[in-house]
Amino acid sequence: MYSKKVIEHFTHPHNQGAIDNPDGVGIVGNPVCGDLMKIYLKIKKDKKRGEYIQDVKFETLGCASAIATSSMITDLAKGKTLTEAKKISREDVADALEGLPPIKMHCSNLAVDGLREAIEDYEKKK
């Protein structure tokens, strides 16, 4: 059902946990559909590149693909500028995971939404 990559990220997620005093936080999903995701961001400013994601972590209550996409989005977003990070699409996440079952595509949507919400949260607070 799931690709090897999904299982890999599900069983050994990257960047899992919380960040103390995060610069931005995004909480997406809902308990009825079963997946909830929280993305934490630490943002740093660089003279040349502008603002970029220095650190990103996640906490997820959800199915295997929800956990795997959370893990993958942190990998994809880490080190990217905010402009670059906002461009990450749900297809990018699914492709990096070597595909997701069609019924689970909404989960990767969720990871992208979580990241974008966390960036917005940061930008609002600025």
């Binding site: 299982i7 308990p31 079963g34 997820t60 209550l61 019924i103």
Partner: protein, 469 residues
């Protein structure tokens, strides 16, 4: 926990290796799998398989053929029919072989409605022949009573009849203990109720429904109305006994049912075969057209090896005395022995899990449940993740019904008990079988503890944060 996928190396425990209760230690590096999903399906018993084998290529005749090849096949199917009839305490010609419980349930629900509509049509035609007869009353739409937590094959059969506007349906809710109240069924009966269909044992939470008591109530109502000549339709009673056959009373007279479905693969028999018991003179029309098989009630070439396997599996259940008689048992202590062994193991499992894993709940009644079923909700854990983590450790359990695994919706059974969606998502069904050992249960619980701890760590505080948002 470090998970490595070693599925291809895994050895599946076969009944013959663990029937003695002693399982050989697996070689180093090979993970022995543990199967805790007996409500989904069971392995075919060695004896059953042996009985079936001649009927694939040596005795291959079509049971409807008149020649000797056909006669040999028919001899086998009729023997199995007798074994089946013996088990359910009915006559051989009251057994209709189907492809499984799903087909049997569809035949029961749709066939009863179809027979009712057919009878009305012929009545109209008959009356139209006499002067003024065509002015008869219009067709009363038949009414069906079922439960909201039936298996999807009954639910969807009812829903499709509703959608086609040929029947009205009432869906009864269970109590929070997962048991249907007889009063609720009685209150729902109307003048036009032609069928009550209630499962014997719920497939997800294992709760046992008071079938015999409901049967008695329906019979009494039918008798009362006919005595006073109240113009009212006879209400038929159907039960889906798929999850009950291994452990509960299945004598159709004692249950007071007109129709009963079951399938072989839940009782250590083959897949693709089941039955519908149809009490003599029950108005039912076939829904699958074709040949004259099964008293013209189910067309299609007989699945001879399957039928033989079903008969053998039922005989095995009977001879192993796995059945238990909930009221008074005239059976030997042996009968209770097997039932109790499974039940004791399951009780041990429930006790340890509830004690050792915090924020855990058992779904469904603790006492009115099948001896092989445990269904838990773990707070702050999602079921599919849990299932896959267990699978990676070589342990097979389930989140709900295997038939609904394609759906993302929380279990309709758990929601019907009034459980919150997030709790329903965090559920795990563990169904043990007759070959499961205490050692396997211990391995499972220890792994379960580790995995839940890990998944709760991954989830952090997100649920509370969501509600605080």
């Amino acid at each position: 926990m470090r998970v490595k996928f070693t599925h291809n190396q895994n050895k599946l425990t076969l009944p013959e290796t663990c029937g003695s209760g002693e399982t050989p230690e697996p070689a180093i590096g090979i993970m022995k799998k543990i199967y805790l999903d007996h409500a989904a399906t069971t392995p075919v018993d060695k004896k059953v398989l042996k009985a079936m084998l001649p009927y694939f290529s040596r005795v291959f005749g079509n049971a409807m053929s008149l020649h000797s090849f056909g006669q040999e096949a028919v001899k086998a199917t009729e023997k199995a029919r007798r074994q089946t009839a013996d088990f359910f305490g009915c006559d051989s010609d009251e057994i209709v072989f189907t492809s499984g419980a799903t087909e049997a349930n569809n035949l029961a629900v749709k066939g009863v409605v179809k027979a009712y509509c057919n009878a009305w049509t012929s009545d109209v035609q008959e009356r139209a022949k006499t002067p003024g007869g065509h002015r008869m009353s219009p067709l009363t739409k038949p009414h069906i009573i079922t439960t909201i937590f039936e298996h999807h094959c009954v639910l969807d059969a009812c829903k499709s009849l509703e959608k086609e506007k040929v029947a009205e349906v009432t869906y009864i809710k269970p109590g929070s203990d997962g048991v249907i109240k007889i009063e609720d069924v009685e209150k729902a009966i109307r003048k036009n109720t032609i069928l009550v269909s209630i499962m014997y044992v719920n497939n997800e939470i294992g709760t046992v429904q008071p079938i015999a008591a409901i049967g008695k109530m329906i019979k009494a109502r039918n008798a009362k109305h006919s005595m006073f000549h109240v113009p009212r339709l006879t209400t038929l009673f159907h039960t889906d006994a798929t999850q009950a056959v291994n452990y509960f009373e299945c004598d159709v007279d004692k249950l007071g049912v007109d129709l009963l479905s079951m399938s072989a693969h839940k009782i250590y028999g083959p897949k693709g075969i089941g039955i519908l018991y149809i009490k003599k003179n029950t108005p039912i029309a076939r829904v699958q057209d074709g040949g004259d098989q099964e008293n013209k009630k189910r067309a299609g070439t007989h699945n001879v090896p399957g039928i033989v396997g079903l008969g053998a599996a039922l005989a095995e259940v009977q001879s192993e005395k796995l059945k238990v008689y909930p009221v008074k048992s005239s059976r030997s202590e042996d009968a209770k022995g097997v039932f109790n062994r499974v039940k004791e193991l399951r009780n041990y499992l429930i006790k340890r899990v509830l004690k050792e894993i915090p924020d855990t709940k058992l779904n469904g009644s603790k006492t009115k449940r099948s001896p092989n079923n445990a269904n838990f909700s773990f707070a702050n854990v999602e079921g599919e993740s849990l299932l896959l983590m267990l699978d990676a450790e070589g342990i097979a359990a389930s989140t709900g019904s295997a038939c609904s695994s394609g759906s993302l919706q929380p279990s309709h059974v758990l929601l019907s008990l009034g459980i919150k969606p997030e709790q329903a998502h965090g559920s795990l069904r563990v169904t043990i079988g007759k070959y499961i050992t205490k050692k396997e249960i211990d391995i499972f619980i220890n792994k379960l503890k580790e995995i839940i701890e890990q998944l709760r760590k991954v989830a952090g505080n997100v649920l509370n944060d969501y509600y605080a948002k």
